[in-house]
């Protein structure tokens, strides 16, 4: 699968996933494949979020969410990679998620996580340091199965995100 197709595929998945899982709490306003950094996107929803002008970065997919009770607008971000994920990709999305105070941050790859990183992520303390970008909010990593056109259920990290992602 080429990069563009993969991006489109996971964009569609993200939209469907969020609409299903957040139906009670959020409205999914838009799911976008940004063409420029978020600070330069001509998007009224994003411009309504504080500090957006310093968001000089471009995730592969973003979803703009609105909390139903408070009407607060937040983001879900997703980065995708065709090769096995390394610390570089994890560090990058960790920064993006911190910067925009993401509600959810996903990282996916057609080739899963590199073996070195898989092993580091087994250690509780290291995994928490790498994936937690704000209190009780973790980056969720998974492989994308081309064969099933879905999340590879065996690949989800952290393990306790499995229920959330697959329910």
């Amino acid at each position: 699968m080429d990069k563009n197709t993969f991006t489109q595929t996971v964009r569609n998945w993200l939209e469907k996933f969020l609409k299903k899982h957040l139906a009670d709490s959020h409205e999914v306003l838009e799911v976008l494949i940004p063409e420029s950094s978020l600070s330069k996107l001509n998007n009224e929803h994003i411009k309504s979020i504080a500090d957006y002008s310093s968001w000089d970065f471009k995730p592969d997919v973003i979803a703009i969410l609105q909390q139903k009770d408070t009407e607060k607008i937040t983001l879900a971000i997703l980065n995708r990679s065709n090769s096995a994920l390394s610390l570089k990709e994890i560090g990058e999305i960790n920064l993006y998620a911190k910067l925009c105070g993401a509600e959810f941050a996903f990282l996916t790859s057609l080739n899963g996580i590199s073996s070195e990183v898989s092993l580091l992520l087994i250690e509780d303390e290291i995994r928490e340091r790498l994936l937690e970008y704000s209190p009780n909010k973790n980056i969720i990593i998974f492989s994308w199965s081309e064969a099933d056109n879905n999340v590879d259920s065996k690949s989800i990290v952290p393990l306790d995100a499995k229920k959330f992602l697959l329910s």
Binding site: D56, L87, L120
Partner: protein, 551 residues
Amino acid sequence: MNMSETTLTKEKSYLLGLITGRGHIFLNSKIIAIEFSHANEIVEGIAHCPKCGYLATKNGDNLRCKNPACESIVDKSVKNTYNQPIETVESLTRVIIPFLNSGIPAAYEIIGNKSMTLLVIDFEKSQDVFDEIVSIFNPDLSFDRFHIPKILYKTERENKIEYINGLLDTSGFPSPGGWLNRDGENGHGRMRVYFQVVRNWHLPVEIDNFLRSEFKLPIHTIDWGHPNIRDANLEDYFNTRPTSWSREHQIKFFPEYYKAFSFRISSKQSLFQELRAHNEKVVFDIEDDWFPPSKITRGKIKAYHPGEADLRIPKQARKHFDAFWQINLAMGCAFLSDLQKKSKNPEYFALTGDPKTEGDVEKIKQEFEKIRKEKESLILAKKRKTPNGQAKKEIESTKVRLSNEQETYAPLVEFFKKYLSDHYQEPADAFDTSAGNLNLFLENGSEDLVSAFDYCAKFRIRPDVVGFLMNTKRLGFIESKITSLDLKALGQLLGYCLVAQPEEAILVSTKRPAVALVKILKARPDLLEYAQDKKIKLAFLNEERVEFISI
């Protein structure tokens, strides 16, 4: 509780084999993770000619029968295909986990992807077994350092077999592509299986010696990940892959002698059976064991290779070799040591493989030296000849690529040594570690470093320069770039820092940071934090001077 040869079971022996091959022990979380790598999603079996039954091999886009009297074009569909990730997960679920669980109650979980499946065993509820395993491998925690446990030499035969079965499931690879060009009674091509040993330099000889001493089995060869063996003609060195030799080691054997063993991973077992059946049908009348070694004739002498001094090679093998078995000897092969002791002149034997000649050591050394240098000169001369400019272009493009970022490492190493010792008022050292993971660098570094920084063995990370504060055993990282610093570069170093929590972390570039990054960091300086009171510093490498950038 200590595991003894009397309490060792088949399940435990098999698990010890899995762990030796690709295991990682996590002491704090009481977890053992075992890797089952399958780099290729689909693997194919052997192709035999439907007309005559001979081996058929690739010939352009087709397969062609190797029988000179047939030479038919053979359709690829004659090959069996195996989906490794799917079969690995199925074998783990249906066979391996139930087998292990019958003797070792623990929580077993499978995670993985197309290139690797990971079996994670949580021993929280069976701490005794975990402690036993830890004591067996003590002080090592990962497969790149494990030895064959001593207990395996004393246990009964069926446990030894299970140990090898475990080793095979994680590090054994039956591959029809690894056939040897040999004629048999009824055909051609002798199939081989290999143990793939990654970054562990003592295990290949231990496996060889274990199979010989405990099962009297032959080994065809050990293909060492050493520059003299893998890149003897310096082809890769001059072809933009200067360190391609630093891959795994392979211990190759003929499957027909290994009937006592079996894989539990079904794709591997099917291939193993295919290879064995082929060799048994073709019939080879010699064992083709590497031991005793062949003599090193003048024609086998190898040119010097710049990689011989590479730090990734352990001290014993960090030198020139003309034959693979000389590395076996250097790495402690008991069979060779014994033969050497019994030889007429042990030093002459080590140089030539000849146990029966007294020989003149100085003379043969000079002679071999001369041949190595002549071969080296010939290779260099050949590379300098540029009839179509290709070789020269390759060398130049390599140099251009290597200039840039790699050229920043040496001044950064010097800077970091001084900076750390001045700033922290204690002895400090720094190294260019860009070529390999930190854990590997430490493993093959000096004994002082290894003992002081043993806690870093689990850090499979690759910063460009690592500094060591020798008294307080703290680390420092530098990540170097030749482009303007941006969030991606910061994210990379942040990843390393979140893992290892060094005392110092510097992101440096030969260019000033991107304005966008400075803007972000002015607004959010907390993005530089990787631990309490620890922040990544940004710097500009101005010629050879490091200037810190204040945010």
